[in-house]
Assembly symmetry: C2
Homo-oligomer: 372 residues x 2
């Protein structure tokens, strides 16, 4: 699928800017991305909160904790609600179909609910104890609540859309359901890959397409569907979103190894500590050559190691250096740019207002230069 | 809500027929209920199997194990797929709206998928190791697969309906989503009640209405909705299903204590072993009098007991006898009849073919006389 094995190893070190830069003439120069994200957050937040308030106790409290609205003791908190890229995209999606941004709001909220349903369940399945600088729900409220509230958020997502009672809402829900099934497939792949010694670059991309691409594709098309767009238009906007998701994930995979803990809220070398077979790792292993082979030997030994948890900073840094030397870092940065380019190109096939097009391009640029 | 505290204690012992009898002129005399259940099973099974086959590996295998189509080693098995009351009801629901039974099939399958989604997640949350005479999915395939496959079945349920692409399918999915939310609410209540010393009869009925009534209400209305029935008709059929569900659950609660292990596939005194605050228990505790008080003292001590797991048959039998002496068994049997009567009465408000009406009444009768 992507056969490139990079020649020049990257040079940046942990904490520096991820070496993925937007094209020279960036739409970000003329569009205020911060304002776009803020608009998505502002329009979606009250509807999301009202949806969560429908949950019976104690699920409403558990969900409010997950979203960062309250702390573990139940006191109000203005936690980090995330970047809110999806809501911003869902509103632009409505505008791409000529509708008002508000038309996309139920879609934005439904997508956020599904995203958070998957976080609740994945954190439990993966045994992850931290998310967004806080203990995860299963850690604070127990596994049963993580399962139950995840289920409830998934059901709420469908409820929010279907109570619109329109044909478009039915189509939107069908797309959301397809995306959710892909999310679940991706998590199943992620779990099965953990037990395998080798994962190909293609398998990794397929898994990331399911786990990240499908829901971003839905975010980018759901507003248009609610605004009455035909399936071809929705599919094309979905293509933009899918590849944007892959670019997003490639950047995430870079941040998962070389990201600044201050910005990401994760530990240093986070993905290496979790033995994640992310893109830089699988690309480095596929590249061949001395560094690639040495990395393969080290990771194979790590998989059997009993004192992996007590590895020092230096041991993880050595693995990261080998990944970089084998070209995994640069390949992934290039992959982010390739996926970004495919995403932006897809927009050409949809007739939409110039300003909306510029905003979608600016969001794509933002995704590949972000630092968290 | 139901203030009756029975006066005459029941006399039947474990293994005997549950003392809930159909009315003197039973519709079951003229309707072949076995054939009705078989028709539901026969029409729904291939569609259900085809739906499950859409799942990616290993989720398809895990789901096939859960449904009893294969054993833990992956060999074909014709396990006990359950009574299939819900599919039979969904097909009759379509006929009640003047449509062919086949029109109800996607609804029957969607309801079965949601029912099994909830079983997969509830068994994990409750730590239940056995279902239908076999180890539960989390026990055989691990907690992550139980979560993941449950999620996938829930998503599939929506998919099956929404891909019909009709306005009716949207309405049907909305009803299914509402029922699913009620299921989740019921499970949340069930979990919270476990940690409480006392649960009122009203709270128990509300929880059972959510856990059992709501999805049976959906089964009884979804076929009609797919067949084009208006909301009033669907709501009335739903009322029949809701109260049928409460009757069903009251019988289940009786079987959970006094059922024959050979027939139910559960241990003797199953619900008592699990400290379940089921209807006979809460009714007995609410009844007052010496047996009720003695029972209350025993159960309060049991809640704190550290050797509860090693209790003998006799100790559980003593608790069951106190529940019966306090009137909990008889009250629950009467409650099953009350709910049965409300269900059958609801049918009078819907105009439908006489034969369909007789079949719905016969299924209601079947539910209150079943032995497993």
């Amino acid at each position: 699928m992507h056969g490139a094995s990079p020649r020049t190893p990257g040079t940046a070190t942990r904490g520096e800017t991820v070496p993925t830069v937007p094209p020279a003439e960036s739409a970000a120069d003329v569009v205020d991305v911060t304002a776009l994200l803020e608009r998505g957050r502002t329009l979606a937040a009250p509807v999301l909160r009202a949806a969560v308030e429908r949950l019976a106790a104690p699920m409403d409290t558990v969900a409010a904790y997950h979203f960062g609205w309250i702390d573990a003791e139940g006191n109000p908190s203005d936690g980090d609600g995330g970047k809110a890229v999806r809501p911003a995209l869902a509103l632009l999606s409505a505008q791409a179909a000529g509708a008002a941004p508000e038309v996309g709001v139920p879609g934005a909220v439904a997508v956020e609910l599904v995203h958070n349903f998957s976080l609740l369940h994945d954190d439990l399945m993966d045994g992850d104890e931290q998310r967004r600088h806080r203990d995860t729900v299963w850690k604070v409220h127990g596994p049963a609540q993580a399962i139950l509230v995840g289920d409830a958020l998934f059901a709420l997502a469908n409820e929010i859309l279907l109570e619109l009672g329109t044909v478009e809402a039915g189509r939107a829900t069908r797309r959301l359901t397809a995306a959710t099934r892909a999310l679940i497939d991706g998590q199943a792949q992620d779990i099965s890959y953990e037990h395998r010694e080798r994962v190909t670059v293609e398998e990794c991309l397929e898994m990331e397409g399911n786990k990240t691409g499908a829901l971003l594709a839905c975010a980018c098309s759901i507003g248009a569907v609610l605004g009455g767009a035909d399936d071809r238009t929705a599919d094309t906007l979905g293509k933009y979103g899918y590849h944007l998701g892959l670019a997003f994930q490639a950047v995430d995979d870079l941040l998962g190894i070389w990201g600044d803990p201050e910005a990401t809220g994760k530990q240093t070398w986070s993905d290496l500590r979790q033995r994640k077979k992310s893109l830089p790792v699988v690309a480095a292993l596929a590249a061949g050559g001395p560094a690639s082979e040495r990395l393969g030997q080290l990771l194979a030994a790590d998989a059997k190691s009993t004192d992996f948890d007590s590895f020092s900073e230096e041991e993880f840094a050595a693995r990261a250096a080998l990944i970089e030397e084998a070209g995994g870092r640069q390949w992934t940065a290039e992959e982010a740019r390739r996926q970004h380019a495919i995403a932006v190109e897809a927009l050409a096939a949809v007739d939409m207002p110039d300003q909306v097009r510029a905003q979608l391009v600016a969001l794509a640029d933002f995704v590949v230069v972000r630092k968290r």
